[in-house]
Amino acid sequence: MIRPRIVLAKPGLDGHDRGVKVVAMGLRDAGAEVIYLGLRVTPAQLAAAALDEDASVVGISVLSGAHLPITEQVLAAIRAAALEAPLVVGGTIPPADVPVLRDLGAAGVFPAGTLLPEVVSGVLAIARAGAA
């Protein structure tokens, strides 16, 4: 199968990048092509990069508590760019917000406490489902 292309970023102002980098390395070692855009990426920049990179999945990480409004903004930018790639969200996410993020349109939610192999296999499964 084609190597999945995962575009990862930290939108918003939060600088906690330990988790997103660990996930990036895990996905890379599982055979994915990972494009990490770095910190303070705006939703529009993220959508444009995902389009350019032909992303199979877009992943964001938010640990500041602003995951709900930021996910809404990113999904709006993805739709505005007519991007088909599904969005996955990780970070410090209280249990009650997991279904809220899914209802907003996140294809996968990986709160703090999810073990790395679970994140990697979850993201790759979403990438494969999108490609199928």
């Binding site: 918003g12 102002l13 939060d14 600088g15 906690h16 990048d17 330990r18 980098k21 660990v22 990036a24 390395m25 895990g26 990972v34 990490y36 770095g38 910190l39 705006t42 500041s64 508590g65 602003a66 409004p69 930021i70 903004q73 410090t92 996410i93 209280p94 249990p95 009650a96 709160p111 703090a112 406490g113 073990l115 790395l116 192999p117």
Partner: protein, 541 residues
């Protein structure tokens, strides 16, 4: 890494990879008993291995300083009153990300983040509200603020003026450590060179104006939380301290005069003896650097004082009440290591900013250790332990090797520009995560002793609901304040700030004038943004 070596050959090591023997004897402590005594000194005496003060906790317990802040200045003021009412002995302010990054609450990029990770401060009026009913000549305040540290300090000085408190009476600590933002915490704004200038401006200003205030807290904590080990944490902290001291002595400042107000910040994680040894080694190492590299003759300039934040990354979302036990051990490690002030993590921090209940329990953890266990009765109680002295020597030697490596890269700032320590951190974080996933590093409730009936963590903790309208309220409050200020006077103060920024003079006096004239954090940071530009991190891969 312990797990790597365990996989290779079942070697038993500390978390930082120092081999651990089944038992230690006098033969494991280097040199003669007299040589050991010289390496230790007495508490309050050089080389300060055993602590910065003679009586340590017998004279006064450490400062119990829970990091707090959320929502508006009024919300956080209420939390401060609550904490002091519960027996906390000082304050520590958490700021929201817009304040940390120099944006006003009304800025488009700021809105989703207003009041989330801490309190929103737009103007000196917010700072005044933050300390309402809290006399600033009596309460010591810690500010976790870095890129905008000079700006936030200016608003604080205005708040103190309005309380009628003299600058000479202010006590507390401004984090103001920009190097570790580039390294790990990532709340930088400007490029490294002007950032270093702002940090040094604050330290220089404080050396004259704020005799009881610590204008910088040099920290390895965030690098540790981001993934590096205890030895790297110690070496990186010392490398940063050296870089700041070189900047300040390069300005012609007298080391003996400013260095007594330098403070430090370390993590305390779960490998109890290694952490205690690291903290003891840190004091001895700083003594050596201060006297050896900078020629300190004032003993206070070579005496390391530190704050310990316990580790959030050791906590788990699974079986969250277990975090109370983890935090207790970490707090004990900080006490046995001789901390001057301590924060204990909330057990719910894998989910949210700590709830009031969690914060109270963190404070109670400190109080129980301080008042019920007897650990405060004598200074440095682990001194002379064969194992702890072996570890202290070993950590100091290994950290010195890493420091030499950083020196050979041209010092902390240059090593950061090359991305070297960042790659240590990222690789170590990845290794740690795989060690947990693959069972090499036990984590109770996660990879061992996890049970299907652990239940829903959401049922075990009190989840707090953020108030969605609070950003709008903050924006409205600031906008009505801006309508009342003297616009031309404020514009003039900002022009003066711009001129001073360009000329290379110390920015602090002009910042205080601008804050007093009602300038916003975003406007003051905007002057620096226009003059200095913004830093963008190079891609890690």
């Amino acid at each position: 890494m312990s797990a790597g070596s365990a996989a290779a050959g079942r070697a038993v090591t500390t978390d930082s990879g120092i081999p651990v023997a089944p038992v230690y004897t006098a033969a494991d402590v280097a040199g003669t008993p007299e040589e050991l005594s010289a390496r230790l000194g007495l508490p309050g005496q050089q080389p300060f291995t055993r602590g910065p003060y003679r009586s340590m906790y017998r004279g006064k317990l450490w400062t119990m300083r829970q990091f707090a802040g959320y929502g508006s200045a009024e919300d956080t003021n209420a939390r401060f009153h609550f904490l002091l009412g519960q027996g906390q002995t000082a304050l520590s302010v958490a700021f929201d990300l817009p304040t940390q990054l120099g944006y006003d609450s009304a800025d488009e990029i700021a809105r989703p983040e207003v009041g989330r990770t801490g309190v929103a401060i737009d103007t000196a009026d917010d700072m005044t509200d933050l300390f309402r009913g809290l006399p600033l000549d009596q309460v010591s305040v810690n500010f976790t603020i870095n890129a905008t540290a000079p700006i936030v300090l200016a608003t604080y000085l205005v708040a103190a003026e309005r309380q009628g408190v003299a600058r000479s009476q202010l006590t507390g600590t401004l984090q103001n450590d920009i190097l570790k933002e580039f390294l790990a915490r990532k709340a930088y704004i400007f490029p490294p060179a002007p950032s270093m200038r702002l940090t040094a401006d604050v330290v220089q200003f404080a050396a004259d104006a704020l005799p009881r205030f610590n204008p910088i807290s040099i920290t390895g904590y965030h690098a540790r939380e981001a993934g590096c080990n205890a030895i790297q944490e110690l070496a990186l902290t010392m490398a940063s301290a050296i870089a700041y001291c070189e900047e300040l002595t390069g300005r012609g400042l007298d080391f003996d005069r400013f260095a007594p107000r330098l403070s430090f910040h370390f993590a305390t994680t779960l490998d109890l003896f290694e952490e205690v040894a690291k903290l003891r080694a840190a004091r001895r190492m700083w003594y050596g650097i201060a006297t050896g590299r900078f020629g300190a003759t004032n003993p206070a300039a070579a005496r390391l004082r530190f704050f310990s934040g316990n580790s959030g990354t050791t906590l788990t979302a699974q079986q969250p009440l277990n975090n109370i036990i983890r935090s207790t051990v970490q707090c004990l490690g900080a006490v046995l290591g001789g901390a001057q002030s301590i924060h204990v993590m909330g057990y719910d921090e894998a989910f949210q900013l700590p709830s009031e209940d969690a914060v109270r329990l963190s404070l109670r953890t400190q109080q129980i250790i301080g008042l019920e266990t007897g650990v405060s009765r004598t200074a440095d109680p682990l001194a002379g332990s064969y194992f702890v002295e072996y570890l202290t020597d070993e950590i100091e030697a290994r950290a010195a090797d890493i420091l030499a490596e950083i020196d050979s890269l041209g010092g902390a700032a240059s090593a950061l520009e090359k991305g070297v320590p960042q790659s240590w951190i990222a690789e170590a974080a990845y290794q740690a995560e795989r060690d947990i996933a693959e069972g090499r590093r036990p984590k109770v409730g996660v990879n061992v002793h996890a049970s299907p009936d652990d239940g829903d963590p959401a049922q075990l903790i009190e989840l707090t609901q953020p108030d969605p309208a609070q950003a709008e309220r903050q924006i409205a409050r600031t906008s009505s304040r801006l309508a009342r200020r003297d616009g031309p006077a404020c514009a003039q103060a900002l022009n003066l700030l711009r001129a001073v920024t360009r000329s290379g003079q110390n920015v602090m006096p002009a910042l205080v004038d601008a804050a007093r004239a009602g300038a916003t954090v975003g406007e003051m940071a905007g002057v620096f943004r226009a003059e200095f530009g913004e830093f963008r991190e190079p891609a890690p891969w």
